[in-house]
Each structure stands twice: as structure tokens, then as C-alpha cells.
Symmetry: D2
Subunit: 267 residues, 4 copies
């Protein structure tokens, strides 16, 4: 029996004629080739793909999302992701379409004194949203950093508590920027996050390096408030960024909960 002979009940009339904002597949893991300014790298990603559905159609065709994904996963960049979203919108005859992809990515980091190199892992995300008169892409990087508490340093005779913190920067970009050479990249978000913290994080440090980052963090204490503000200040003056949200979450070493702060650009 061929597909043509089977009834397509997705095409029937819905009981409640209400438009659906998003319908599609979620939590689909797929290998990708990610294009970063630092070069191409292979990683394993998790995708959600969706379209809008009018009040007249009962269901979407789920298999088409997976077919679309198979097509572009061999080269994932801002450009290819937006192009795939536009293609998805057209293939499913929808008003709007969106793709969301989350993945770990890796950058080579050189230890500050020994200069020995190893990869550090970051969490990346790209979201698109394409409609009849809009087309946007948001890049997100979650960056581990060292944070040292200014209050603890100030009030104690010696020492100061430090901890791992996570900086999450979401940066929306514009269509024009995406297609120019000078568009913002996940590697830029990593640099901006690391510069605002007490110290960057490394995978591989020898003793001379550990000495260096210990004193660097002690010399640059920063509250979550200080870090989000420094990053918001930087992003506000970056012409490649159309809008942003920055969040810092310190996994406090003296508590079992986090200190956190968030600044969103005015909308």
C-alpha cells in the first residue's frame, strides 16, 4: 500500500478552529558540523523545529521536519539555519517557522603562563524565527567563569570565597548583519563573558598557571551585579547586536544555591 492510498487525516478539519503558534518536533538529537569564526567543528546537537498552523488545518506533517534537518545539518551557521527556516516555512505552507538548536562547542585555550593548550567546553544555542515580515536569529552562549566575592574579600582578614559561575549571553542579530562578514559569533560572546569575570576558566593548568589565576581572581573580585553590568555595557555599544539578555549565575561556594542577576536590553 503506498502513501497515496492512505488517508491523510492531518488534512481534515479541526474540531476547534484555533490557530496554533508552534507545532513540530522537539528533543531530536542529530550530529552537526558547526561553523564558527575559529573554524568548523563537529558536535552533537538537540533540535526543535516548528511551524505555525492555521485554524483550518488539523495537523502538520511531522516527517518533513526531520527531512529538512537532514538537509542542512552538515553545515550549521547563522546563514544556513535561517535559510533552512525559510525553506521549512515554505515546504509546510506556513505563516511562520522556527528552529532551535542547542549543542556543546569547544575552543582551544592557552594556559596563561605555561601556554599549554587544551579545549574548553561551552554550551551554545541558536534560535531562528521567520514570519511573513520578520526574520531573526538569536545566538546564546553559556560560559563557565571563575568569580570571587568582593564582599567576602573586603570583610575578611585573609582569603575570599570564590566559585564557578555561568554567564549566559543571548544576542539577537539582524538579517543584514548575519549576511555580512562582520556578524557577531559565539566565540565573541565567550570572549565578552570571560573578560567580565574574575578570571576565565581552563581545562588544563599547571602549577604556575594555577598560581596566576588564583591571584588574578583575587585582584578582580566581582559580584554577579558587576558582571552583568560590564557585559550589558559592552553589548549596548556593539552595533552587531540588535537586542540582548545577559544572565550570571554563581554557584556560591558558601551556599547550596546560586546568586544570580539578569539584564535585558530595552525592547
Amino acid at each position: 500500500m503506498s502513501t497515496l492510498e492512505l488517508p491523510d487525516i492531518q488534512r481534515t478539519t479541526p474540531e476547534h478552529p484555533i490557530a496554533i503558534n508552534c507545532v513540530g518536533v522537539k528533543g531530536l538529537r542529530y550530529p552537526i558540523q558547526l561553523e564558527l569564526r575559529s573554524g568548523q567543528q563537529a558536535t552533537a546537537a538537540e533540535f526543535s523545529l516548528a511551524v505555525s498552523l492555521s485554524e483550518h488545518e488539523r495537523g502538520t506533517h511531522m516527517s518533513r521536519f526531520v527531512e529538512e534537518l537532514s538537509r542542512f545539518c552538515s553545515r550549521v551557521s547563522a546563514e544556513t539555519l535561517l535559510a533552512a527556516t525559510m525553506d521549512l516555512r515554505q515546504r509546510l505552507s506556513s505563516d511562520s517557522a522556527s528552529i532551535d538548536v542547542v549543542f556543546p562547542f569547544f575552543l582551544e585555550r592557552r594556559a596563561p603562563v605555561s601556554e599549554i593548550q587544551a579545549l574548553v567546553d561551552y554550551q551554545g544555542r541558536m534560535n531562528t524565527d521567520v514570519g511573513p515580515d520578520r526574520s531573526s536569529l538569536t545566538l546564546t552562549a553559556r560560559v563557565p567563569v571563575t568569580s570571587l566575592c568582593p564582599c567576602s574579600k573586603e570583610i575578611s582578614d585573609y582569603g575570599a570565597h570564590s566559585q564557578r559561575g555561568y554567564v549566559t549571553i543571548e544576542a539577537a542579530t539582524t538579517d543584514a548583519r548575519i549576511h555580512s562578514q562582520g556578524g557577531i559569533d559565539l566565540t565573541d560572546l565567550v570572549s565578552i563573558a570571560e573578560n567580565a569575570a574574575s578570571a576565565p576558566i581552563y581545562s588544563l593548568l599547571k602549577r604556575v598557571d594555577e598560581r596566576h589565576v588564583t591571584m588574578q581572581a583575587f585582584d578582580q573580585p566581582a559580584f554577579v551585579e558587576d558582571v552583568v553590568r560590564a557585559i550589558a555595557s559592552e553589548l549596548s555599544s556593539d552595533s552587531r547586536v540588535a537586542g540582548f539578555s545577559v544572565e550570571v549565575e554563581n554557584q556560591e561556594s558558601i551556599h547550596n544555591h546560586a546568586a544570580w542577576a539578569r539584564i535585558q536590553s530595552p525592547q
Copy 2:
């Protein structure tokens, strides 16, 4: 040395005079007494509490969030959570304040034929947002259900794939409604979700019950699209609900990813 003599560097001037939307504590686990229409129940919750910070202050006082939490956790309802948020805003002299709490909750369910009872677990969430001229509360319930695929049933000579689905309903309520007797409750959201699915889920079913729910699901096949629409239709006409978002995620038994759909009320 007393607190009075220690420097309060949170009160110093920030390097970047930028207002912060949210600053506070995150991921703080605390036991609560939850008030539902079905009665009070004890559970373990996870809290985030935050305030806004003006461009003139360097840092907030993190310990006050935990003090506030200790005060109201013995009775958590829409009313007490809003009151605590207002109190937090005042105690921290902030423009706005918010509380977010996530917890499992449990409802007694009677098996459809044997009538044997056991508790089913749901995920609940309550969010508040209080500002100079606003005060809102959003209730969220994540409800496990049985879903059976209408397409699979239609195109196959026998059988139809079914799976566990999760319905997530967010319902914003208004101040007036919260303080009236007739406000919407997490238990209402559970009922709305279960009614729209192919069948409700139970913890304890004897063979006569399993026979019943197997045939009930086969008799009521539903796509994710059907379920979100039925719920959106219901919520749209509910005068207790000021706005909503409804999401259904079916953990497809024939795939390793989910089918999902979301409808948000017009804003």
C-alpha cells in the same frame, strides 16, 4: 566584630551605572506547605527570588531573600506568595520584585473501574511579578497523560501507537481573582489537561482498569494539535484566566523525539 562595623560594599557606587532587571537567589530548595483547593499538602520546592536594582546601587543583600522565604514557606498559596513578593519589594527598597517556585504536588486518583485509590504526581509552578503599578501571578501545571495517535489508528488494520504525553498549562490570573473565592487553582489545570487527552494517567490500575483505559484511549485518539486546541478553547472562555499558554509534548513511542505544539493567548 559586629555587622555594623563591617564595610557594606554592596552600597558603593557601581562602575557601570546600569539598572538591573532581576537580581537575587536561584535554586534554593526549601520545604513548603502548599495550599490547594483539595487541601494543604507538604512538599519540597525550589525557589528563585529576585528584585530589580537601580543604576545607583552596586549590590543587593542576598541574605534578605532567604529571610523572606523562611517567613512564608509554611503556607504557600497565591495570596501568600503575592504578599511575600510585595514585602520583598519593600524590604529591599526596589522598584519590582518576583518569586518563582517549582514543586511536585500530588492528587488522589480513583481507578476508573476498581475505584482503588492512589496518588498521582504533577509538577507545579507559581510565579509572581510585582511592580509600582502591576501585580501578577501565573500558575503552571505539568500533567502526564496518555495520548493515542489518530493517524496511526486510521491507517493501520489494527492497533495504534500510544505514548505518555505531558501537557503544560500556564494560566495568568488577576489580582481581583486571586483574592476572591473563585480563583483558578492548580487542581483545575490538572482536570482541564486530563479531559483533553486520550486518557488520564493513574499510579495504580488493576486489570479491569487497564482494560478500561486501553479502550478509552483507542476511542479518543488525539494529536498534540487536537489537545492544545481543546485546552485553548476551554481557557479562552474561562473568566478566571487573564492569559494563558498551553503546550503538549508527546514522547512518541515510534520515535526518540517528541511531537509538540503550543498555543499562547493573544497579548
Copy 3:
């Protein structure tokens, strides 16, 4: 149609006559009343319950596990959990039975200088294993602590990196001990873990307290190796403990991975 008339295909003969070590239910969330030395507390737990199945029976009766759980969850202690496991073994006519339960629990902690109090959350676990000639119970506590690196302190002119660490202690106890007054308790495991770390963790600290714990940690630097050894030494000489495993995982503030160590008692 009553249960009696429905076929019970669990009782049929299995295709492959192989005995099954464990079969039952997993990931079942249920509210419990937990009995600790510090008193009774309500919390939300996650259960696995299982029995062994002989090579002659095709399937177990899943609903009986949930019925058993409903019976004893109103009072969960070493004694009630072992009794329930024995009951389960009998009711399901099995050679062996086991129950595993995981839950957050909370202890009141007094800040070291201000003496202000708040609850700290810990992760607890209890496992039973009952067979024809054995009956054992293992208690596990996962305890957040502050750790400060001795190497970083030694090699740096000032400062030393610190971070949140998690100590996990598993302690097997004997039947005789469980039923005596002097049996070991989750609260004992928490104290043992906190004493071995650079400093305990608190939910609520005022500035005088933060000064205290900052200097306490700097005065007691400890590697993961130091902490597991101190705890192993303590547990080895504790007559209430029949066997143990201790694991420490420091969420390094200078890396995005953990330093960890584990000691198991000789078996």
C-alpha cells in the same frame, strides 16, 4: 467484567526460562513522612521497588508495588522500609525484594556568629535488599560543603581558589543495629561530611558569618583526597557501620569539570 474473569498472562510460561534479578516499578514520585533523629519531616520522594522473578513465571504484578508503597509512605524509616521490603517479598512470593528511595531532606543550621537559623537541603537515599538469608539497608547522604584548595593557597602570594563540593557517603548497616536505638542516621552522615570539609555550607549568612566562614575555609584547606580519607578514617572506626563508600566531588572554580575521589571499605 471483573478482574477474576480477565486472563492473567503474567502467569503464563516465559519463552526463555531465565530468572530475573529485579523487576518492578521505577521513578514513582510519592510524598513521604521521613523519620530522622531530628524529628519527622514531610518531603517528596522518588521510589523504585523490585522483586526477583523465577525462570517459571512470565511476569510480575506491577500494581502490587504501588499498593505496598501506599501502605508505608506515611512513616519512612530504616525499620519501616525493611519491613515493607519483607512484606513485598512475601506478597509477591519472591526470592528477594528491594526498595530504593531518594528524597531531599532539610536540617536547621545556625549561622556561626549571628546564630540566625535557616534550613539547608541535602539529598538522601535509602536502599534495602532482602533475600532468603540476608537483609540489609544502606543509607546515603549527599552533602554540599565548601572546599578550599591547599595547593592554590600554598603556591600563591595571596588568595586561594575555593568552590562548592559534594560529599556522598553510603553507609551499610546491619539488621541488629537498625533495630537498636543507636543506629546510624542520615543526620550523622551530614555531620561527618561537614566536619571533614574546609567549611560547612549554610542557606543564610549575615556579613559577620560570611567573614567567619571565609577565614575558616582559608584556615582548613583540603584536597578531595584529604576529605575522603578523613571520612573513611571516621567511618572505619564506627561500630554502627558495616561497610561504606565515600565520594567527594569538587566543582572546581578554575575548571569546568570536577576533581573527585572515592574510597570504598574492603568487602
Copy 4:
């Protein structure tokens, strides 16, 4: 200041002279090139690496684990992982060493009727343990499958509940086998799991395929007990397997908990 001049306090004498079973790094994400029988594929992995520590040494040298990892991650197979573990043991002058690596991997699957292809994701794991007189490697695959309940089918007039299940097979192999051509591979474990279930899972199915897998599952109902037994029977007679554990967890569509079973080979 060079490393040579900095004190090495890891080499000092421990306060408690107790040997440590495992000490090292945990939760380290790194990109790998994975070698499977189906070819080489790039993915993102999470590593734990450890060695034993004698009672005379205070601490291990954490940076050496990361250096070792950088060396072999460009080609991860049973052979290279065992060789790296042996190297780690030697470089850290330890009695024993172990490596644990977890990663998603992907296999091309052809839909049963349309023959359209797409990748399905599986979770893989490899563990090594090398000591003075032992050297072992365990492969683990977690495989999503479709399961359909035999009881529900038997007792109902029509329909039968189905759900996604996860089969986890751990297979220990021997040194001789690893270095021969005929050693077992993660792809073998996937096939064994899929063959024992009601139906395999696919990422991409057209309507003709959905019809096929719906009826296939209805024709091959299987309890968790049936599936673990079929797989245990298969593994028991496989000369490449020195020992095994097989676990099946069905995410029941009529409950919010799982049905599960486990068989371990006699040790």
C-alpha cells in the same frame, strides 16, 4: 617563577595513611572521534579519568589526566581507550587506572517500507579498568525501542497501550577479544536490543512506515520481562561477551512511572 620552584604539596604525607580507590577528574566534556564498525564519527563526550593512590601520597596530579585525554581523543575505540588507561596508570605511577566515557552516537536507519533514511541517536558508554593483573573494558548502549503491553492487548476488546522503552545493555569483553577483529561493538548491542523489542524506533517515518511499525508492535507485544530475557539469552551464548547486565525501562503510557527489569550474568 617556574613550576620547578613552586612547592608540590601533593607529594607531602597524608594525615590519614589510607589508600584511595579512585581519584581524578569527572564531568570533563571533550570532542571525540569515535570508531564504530559502521565507520568513524565525531561526537561530544563526557569523561571521568581516575587512578588509585597509595596510603603514602597526599594527592594526585590532576592536570595529567587532561593531558592524557588530549592525546587519545582523536581516535576512541576499545583499543585506544585501553591503551590510554595503561598509559595513565604508568604516567601517574599508580596501581590501577580507569577511564569512563559517555557520548551520543548515531546510526543510519532505513524506514521499513519507504526505505527513506535518517540518523537515530543512541547513548553509548565505555569503561576501562586496568590493574597490575587485570585489564577490562565494558561497552554500554542505551537504545530507544517501541514496547507494546501483552496484558493490555489480551484483556482489551481492541487496542493495547504502547510506549517508548529504553534498553540498556552492558557487555564486558576480554582483552583477547578486544584485540581480535571479531570483538563486540556498540552497533551489535543496538541490533540485539532492537530485535528483542516490539518494534525498533526511527527518526523518520512516512505514513506507509507508520502503518508498518504500528502493526509490527501489535504483532509482537512484549513485557519488560520478555525483553530482558530474550536479550540475556542472546548474550549468554555470545562468545565475545565475558559478562553482561541488561535493563529495560518502559515509560508506561498509562502511568507516570516506568516498568523495569534487569538481568545480570552470574559472576
